[in-house]
């Protein structure tokens, strides 16, 4: 069945409609692929019975001519989305046994469009991390290998590491993730997949386990830009249950793809040219610039002067919001409960036993910066710097339509590297985090290989709610890059 696994989402959709194979056959091929790639640890929970039942229902709708946009397409869903009756863990011990009684808006939209749930994908605990090594359920292995050291387990990036790895390993046709500081675009770059984080408010956050509510946004992983635009079209839209979801029409994203980039102005921010930038990243960026210029785009130098303050701003705002959001895990309403003689002791014991080290670190930082006497100095200051970062982008949009940058400062690293120093780990998101602070859409596109044979990605950033231009430029970049390499440990 490996030929079925080779199909892109749009090709598989065409095959299903033309009755070349059934949804059940496609799902069986992916369930077999999941078995074959189990060692990567991409899934926390597999749902084969549900997948078969959903695929059989898809076959009926395909026969009846009532197929949806994702009819019969087998997907992985980050285990941060609440799925009715299916274990939802956020990769945390503290949510032991939690089976939501409701379905997140984004996942219910996917099922309405006919998609099939293969399972819940692994992630960093509460989406806090850039390597998928903070999961209570163990790290995910990247299906890509360093050709000079193929046995060394590499990270898929994070926090949506499982969602990225299963697409790269072909144990899901596409997947859903969330992006708070780069958690879709960074793992996409490290696994040679396309990762889309839409504008804040484009997709409903209802039913997604909250990390940092002003930064979180759902998005997707796919093999191609076209597949991503199909996924995004199914996920997006206003939801009365999320007051921050935008009440604006969802355009036909696919219609934008074939417009090309002739006359489009591509901004190149000089502040992203870090002194410490690795040569292969710098070279890749230059190739991206040359490709888009050759395709008819106009290249414009721009400035985003507050870029260097984005990560420190993020590491005040995100932990502050997380410490508030995670207050609900107290052993009373769901998940783990540890014993305690008093109510307070029960809370504190549960939260010590249930949260991992990185989550505790961030809850403590967040509590500290919000505590009496420090609020103005840290949190309020960070919210003001955030305003300035957003202004940088607003100013840039008068000169350009889309911005091109590297997606990550390096290719995938070892599962056991970079663990000692939290700040070193935080620097993985240096190119992605500005987008979250300014609420913009971004996409990471596989654009080349480093000398070790590992994938590298380029990032495009768009204006708020202008995913169409972003995808249009993304398609041109994908066409020019012609990335055809595949992961060694794929099914």
């Amino acid at each position: 069945m490996s030929d079925l696994l080779d199909l892109s989402l749009s090709e598989a959709s065409a095959g299903l409609r033309d009755k070349e194979f059934t949804a059940l056959e496609l799902t069986e091929a992916y369930l077999a692929a999941m078995d074959k790639t189990k060692a990567l640890n991409g899934y926390i929970t597999e749902t084969p019975d549900q997948a078969r039942a959903m695929a059989a229902a898809s076959d009926k709708r395909l026969s009846a001519g009532t197929a949806g946009a994702l009819e019969g397409i087998p997907l992985g869903v980050k285990d941060l989305f609440c799925t009715e009756g299916v274990l939802t863990t956020a990769a945390s011990h503290i949510l032991d046994g939690f089976k939501p009684q409701y379905e997140s808006t984004v996942s219910s939209k996917l099922w309405s469009a006919g998609a099939v749930l293969l399972g819940k994908t692994n992630l960093d605990e509460f989406a806090m991390g850039s390597s998928n090594t903070t999961s209570y359920y163990g790290p995910v292995r990247n299906p890509w290998q360093d050709k000079t050291d193929p046995d060394k387990a590499l990270v898929p990036g994070g926090s949506s590491g499982g969602s990225a790895a299963v697409v790269a390993a072909r144990s899901a046709l596409a997947s859903v993730g969330t992006d708070t500081g780069g958690s879709i675009r960074q793992p996409a770059a490290l696994t040679g997949t396309v990762g889309i984080r839409p504008t804040y408010g484009r997709c409903s956050r209802w039913g997604i386990v909250a990390f940092a509510s002003s930064l979180d946004q759902a998005g997707c992983f796919s093999r191609t830009v076209r597949d991503g635009s199909i996924m995004l079209g199914a996920m997006a839209g206003h939801d009365p249950k999320d007051s921050t979801s935008a009440n604006i029409a969802v355009p036909d994203f696919q219609a934008a793809l074939d417009k090309g980039v002739k006359g489009l102005r591509i901004g190149i921010p000089k502040e992203y040219r870090l002194k410490s930038l690795a040569d292969e990243i710098d070279d890749l960026w230059q190739r991206g610039i040359d490709w888009l210029r050759a395709a008819g785009a106009e290249i414009v130098d721009i400035t985003l002067p507050h870029t260097k303050y984005a990560l420190p701003t993020y590491y005040i705002i995100a932990p502050a919001e997380a410490s508030s959001n995670l207050a609900r895990y107290d052993g009373v309403r769901y998940g783990l409960r540890s014993d305690g003689k008093t109510l307070d002791e029960m809370y504190a014991n549960t939260r010590y036993d249930g949260f991992g080290d990185e989550v505790q670190r961030r809850v403590l930082i967040g509590t500290y910066v919000l505590s009496a006497g420090y609020y103005d100095a840290y949190y309020l200051k960070a919210q003001k710097v955030r305003t300035r970062i957003a202004e940088d982008f607003r100013n840039a949009w008068s000169q350009c339509d889309v911005i091109l940058t590297p997606a990550t400062p390096s290719a995938a690293f070892g599962v056991n590297d970079k663990q000692d120093d939290p700040i070193q780990m935080y620097l993985n998101d240096v190119f992605t985090v500005t987008v979250n602070l300014a609420g913009l859409p971004g996409i990471s596109i596989p654009s080349g290989l480093d000398p070790k044979g590992l994938p590298l990605g380029l990032q495009l950033i768009g204006r708020p709610f202008d995913e169409e231009t972003l995808l249009q430029a993304g398609q041109a970049l994908e066409d020019a890059a012609g990335f055809t390499a595949v992961a060694g440990l794929r099914a």
């Binding site: 007051s243 507050h306 303050y309 409960r337 504190a348 939260r351 403590l364 840290y378 003001k384 609420g439």
Partner: protein
């Protein structure tokens, strides 16, 4: 050092995390390094800058003030670690 073990203990109490004493020292130095790193924000001129309150421009929607959901207590307590009937149960708080 802005964050010492005393501060860690105080913040851990505020966050209701029963941090053992032998974790306080290492966390104090980690948190101190993070706080020292974010201090660089003081370089940024933010006089007359409004703190961001909403990341995208949107008008808050109004809806009629009426109950639109609920009436299923068994679902609400379905995941509770120790429910009693339709109630959450916790260690006794009143003697």
């Amino acid at each position: 050092m802005a964050i010492d073990t005393k501060t860690v203990a105080r913040v851990a109490h505020l966050a209701r995390i029963a941090l053992p004493e032998d974790r306080q020292e290492s966390l104090a130095s980690e948190l101190d390094a993070i706080v020292a790193w974010v201090e660089q924000l003081s370089e940024v001129d933010t006089d007359n800058v409004q703190p961001m309150s909403s990341v995208v421009e949107m008008t808050a929607l109004w809806r009629e003030d009426k109950v639109t959901d609920g009436g299923y207590p068994e679902k609400v307590v379905a995941n509770a670690p120790d429910p009693v009937g339709d109630f959450f149960a916790v260690p006794k708080v009143v003697e």
